[in-house]
Symmetry: C2
Subunit: 308 residues, 2 copies
Amino acid sequence: MNRKYIIAIDLGGTNLKVALLDLQYKIKDKEIMGTRSFLEKDELISGIIHAINRVIKYNNLDKTDILGIGLGLPGPVDAKSGIVHFFPNIPGWREVPLRDILKNRIGLPVFLDNDAKIMALAEHRLGSAKGLNNVLCMTLGTGIGGGIIIGGKLYRGFNNAAGEVGHLPINEHGSSCNCGRTGCLEAYIGNNKIIKDARKEFKRNISLEELSMLAARGNKRAIKIWRKVGRRLGFALAGVVNLLNLDAIVMGGGVANAGRTLFDSTKESLKKQAMNVHGSHVKIFKAKLGNNAGLIGAAIVVKEGLIS
Amino acid sequence: MNRKYIIAIDLGGTNLKVALLDLQYKIKDKEIMGTRSFLEKDELISGIIHAINRVIKYNNLDKTDILGIGLGLPGPVDAKSGIVHFFPNIPGWREVPLRDILKNRIGLPVFLDNDAKIMALAEHRLGSAKGLNNVLCMTLGTGIGGGIIIGGKLYRGFNNAAGEVGHLPINEHGSSCNCGRTGCLEAYIGNNKIIKDARKEFKRNISLEELSMLAARGNKRAIKIWRKVGRRLGFALAGVVNLLNLDAIVMGGGVANAGRTLFDSTKESLKKQAMNVHGSHVKIFKAKLGNNAGLIGAAIVVKEGLIS
């Protein structure tokens, strides 16, 4: 077998990353572009194809060196049929048969999946959840996504839509969520809400990074905000843990960089609210693969789809 | 193969049922005793053994006709090691190696599992959830139990403790639950809470059966109570459905006999709170096997454990 590389693509609302990985998932080359520089759907598809061809050429490779192309995508997709249903943060995509389009234009096998699922897969195969059976991996950012591993395999649910942990409701008469419903976790601990709370507390604009730094230095107001986030996150996760009796929860995404204050208060709140047997067993880890989780996961999807 | 029968035992806080089933899970004979007539753990174990021997003898059978013994038990058990951790409603049981005790005294293969899991298995193999992949089965009674089917198989979680749907929290600052935590679903829609609400509304004692009958006849106060139960149940289930993207939810137990008012308001509330793709797909069914689900499930555990 001569095909020794995989091309992985991590498409986000902000950045489009294209990378070359070897079959041990080492990143050999990476290119990052702004997603918004491609105004139309067709431009974005062409941009992806040009980047793939560039990465092959710049590394003195040929298409026959490439095992396949894997894509992690920011929205609901059908991994089986290769169709993108839509992207919440990139306009103009609706029921696009992206896998077949790319396959026809590049002539290589193409695999795609939702980014939160891809991240969960990467953390399970190579990251914090390695070797564990039943795990929830969360991305904590503007939105809160999730991927579930059951029995060591990615769990998809009926429409490949499982894992929407951001839309666990935690208050019957609670805050309105972007999704149009009531009291969802995301309405309480999404990026925007945290930044809003911080602005109120500090009477100025303050970034998540600064808020984390302040908490690390012992600033009481910053600690108070992160503790509130952790309390709510732990409360919601207690329900998940009581339901699924998980081995571990892995937290990634920008908010997960908040540091110990957040992790400690999440654990404390989870243990207080979960049943004993469920709460005492489950571990909470920080995601290990960081910003590369999407690329690594996309490469895993290709290799596992074609070889193992 | 000459062993054509299975003996199934369904132990509850109130009743101990012992039945003879054939390999197609038809109930051939059944005996029901009061669990509380056995005062001690050892008496209860002897009572089970006597009942097994009686059912064999009364049906003119021999131990060599029996494939095995299956038990559905009202509390956390380790199905693998055959150990009962404890029973919340039957005192005196703690870390009892019940499978080995019975196996040694009867000389037949013994299988045991938690009753909610056994009910889920029965509904999946022969009842409302037949042929479906991903399902939550709930028992709605004094307590609210659950069993989860994932990919057509019983999902256990790390400690065989998955499925505690009664302890999904639905309000951060909500009612106290029997489990000692805050805002659990069970604190809102367990038997006792419904009966308490009904007593308040009707200014007299009123049973669940009467409350269901009144609702079926159009009594507005009864309908109001059941609608409130359904609203909360649907709200909690929306979280489960967003997380697991289920095919169906099966509701059994006394409260599930409340009739259409309860089912309609549960569905309405679930669809309102769940995300579109998740809420529009999931079906809500009434459990089909009724009071025999426990016996049938216990027999399935034996047959699947030994043959298929």
